[in-house]
Amino acid sequence: MATKTIKVDYLARVEGEGALDLTIADGKVTSATLRIFEPPRFFEALLRGRGFEETPDIVARICGICPIAYQMSAVHAIERAFGVKVEGGLRALRRLIYCGEWIESHALHIVLLHAPDFLGFADGIEMASAHGDMVRKGLALKKAGNEVLRVLGGREVHPVNVRAGGYHRLPTAAELAGLAETLKRARDDAVELTRWVAGFAFPEIDIDYEFVALRHPDEYPFNEGRIVSNRGIDIDIGDYDTVFEERHVARSTALHSAIRERGAYLVGPLARYGLNFDRLPSQVQALAQEAGLGPVCTNPFRSIVVRAIEVVYACEEALRLIAAYERPEAASVPLAPRAGTGFGCTEAPRGICWHHYDFEPDGTIRTARIVPPTSQNQASIEADLAAVAGTMVDAPDEEIRHRCEQTIRNYDPCISCSAHFFKLNVERR
């Protein structure tokens, strides 16, 4: 029987440059590979010799969509190396700015990038002709997330206010009160968005993932926690290398991550939700149930619903943080550099973002290693593609191509981050 190749040469509605090749031989998918040709920018090399003070500003530039994730993982790593802990109101403000990034990033993906796949449009703008009300609400939600970033960070992309030890300037009571008003409306929009996406038609497929996420004793995770999995991983973030490894494959400028003993794993909303459902407030759990989700979701196409639930959570959590906020005495805690090693691992919208730095006595970086979420998900993306395409090998190429692109967008892949990180090509043999 014939072999055929289905190719997508330039993936749309993802951040960055990638492609996909799918080979079908004798009615079976024999290979599904994601090629990442995003040009490498060598952040880990250019960070060597730089000061710890500059690090949050530099690493932000790895990703324009999730700069806070990079800034947060970096500041936690610096503080751990220098033996400093940021607590109280400053810690609360870090969770608050992270809420802003999740709201902005998830709302962008749900409404402008992912929902068009389910409703048959090329993009969010075209979708607005038929679903104008939800597109406008989604954009308002995205704007609310950006407003948190603008107030706490100074601007939406590459915020300037984050530093090791805390912030450069604390928000005023009036600024926080204004944010609370915006967030109340955003919470209502997020609930409506959740109900809307819950009504989409989802392909029936369940994947047996190993979920990996942070887990904290009392909170749904942003900045802190142990790295855990549903197959027994439970480690300090500093022990990452004992369990995980990065592999360099020819087709990609993104390094592939794997669990040393088992291979592929999944980070991001599905993993975070499945491992931390019990940390969500009861009203958010109830909404998840209403939206058709159990405490664990293994259908990657339903990740859009999980993202919407996380947006509701981020709005709720931001409102709670603002209501409970007690202004710290200073905008940052003092920091004295010393020689040492620091690790940081925080929950970017797309999953854990792990950093490792070695510092000279004066706080200059000797070596840096950064593992972004999407590079960790590459093996799972390829496995999902093989599984999804495997259920429809006799379908027309165009249908397979569309479903594969949708499968990749389930991950909200951030390719710019991952190159150190896509095109779909289906080959039939």
Partner: protein, 258 residues
């Protein structure tokens, strides 16, 4: 009703973080209006509907760092009536231009286990090094109000109203007390305006993400930094970030040691 042909807009990505093209999607209040005024003919990050050129206005993000991109930028130029670079990468090479002053093999080996899989140039260069550019918009990231102004101006056939003075003017306008006089080193006096002087309003010095202003007095600024206690290494580092390969910043940073 008479059918009016809308101008065709394209957005291109080279080596970058996607933050500048995201600024277009961050125009939440204006996005649907903009999409009514122009045909978004090619914007891969936002739409799977991609149509062929030619385009009336191309917005280019990112710098040239691979042999493939050297060819691609020529094609983009050939298809575009106007070409505008958006952001520090496309305008000055971005932070990835730090490779220009280092050994590229060492950079590749520091990140990748199998350097032979990597195809990259030894330099990161701005778009203007390869093709004629009609307008360069500064910023890491660009300011979205300036982006809308540039799009409107090109579509109306006028010059964009984008000031070329320094960040200092923006501080004065918004009434932010000077951080330099309080002893905080600031690149505001030599940095291109456009951000709205955000950093000083957050009680830190400007870090130059909009690149050099039109006629910066770099030596005077460096002397002022020394006078308030900055070490040569601090000056070198401050100028060696997102616009490291911009001429004025590059020359001055080379005048200071580690």
């Amino acid at each position: 009703m008479r059918q009016v042909k809308r101008p065709r807009l394209a957005v291109w990505k080279f080596a970058s973080c996607d933050g500048c093209q995201l600024s277009l999607l961050d125009c939440e209040d204006e996005l649907l209006t903009l999409a009514g005024a122009v045909e978004i003919a090619n914007f891969a990050e936002a739409s799977s509907a991609v149509s062929e050129g030619p385009y009336d206005l191309s917005l280019v993000e990112g710098s040239i760092t691979t042999p493939h991109d050297l060819e691609r930028i020529q094609e983009v130029r050939a298809q575009s009536k106007f070409l505008v670079t958006i952001g520090a990468c496309a305008t000055a090479g971005g932070i990835q231009a730090l490779r220009n002053f280092a050994d590229i093999d060492d950079f590749v080996a520091a990140v990748y286990a199998s350097p032979e899989f990597i195809s990259t140039l030894s330099t990161s260069t701005p778009i203007s090094a390869h093709v004629p550019v009609d307008f360069e918009l500064n910023g890491c990231p660009i300011n979205k109000a300036q982006l809308l102004e540039v799009i409107s101006a090109f579509l109306a056939g006028r010059k964009p109203a984008v000031a070329s003075y320094s960040v200092c003017i923006e501080c004065k306008r918004r009434g932010t007390p000077c951080v330099m006089v309080q002893g905080t080193p600031c690149l505001g006096p030599v940095t291109h305006a456009g951000c709205g002087a955000i950093c000083p309003s957050y009680r830190r010095g400007c870090y130059g993400c909009f690149g050099p202003m039109e006629t910066p007095n770099m030596a005077a600024l460096a002397a002022e930094w020394r006078a308030i206690g900055a070490a040569p290494r601090d000056i070198k580092r401050a100028l060696s970030t997102f616009n490291a390969a911009a001429d004025a910043f590059q020359k001055e940073s080379q005048a200071h040691g580690d």
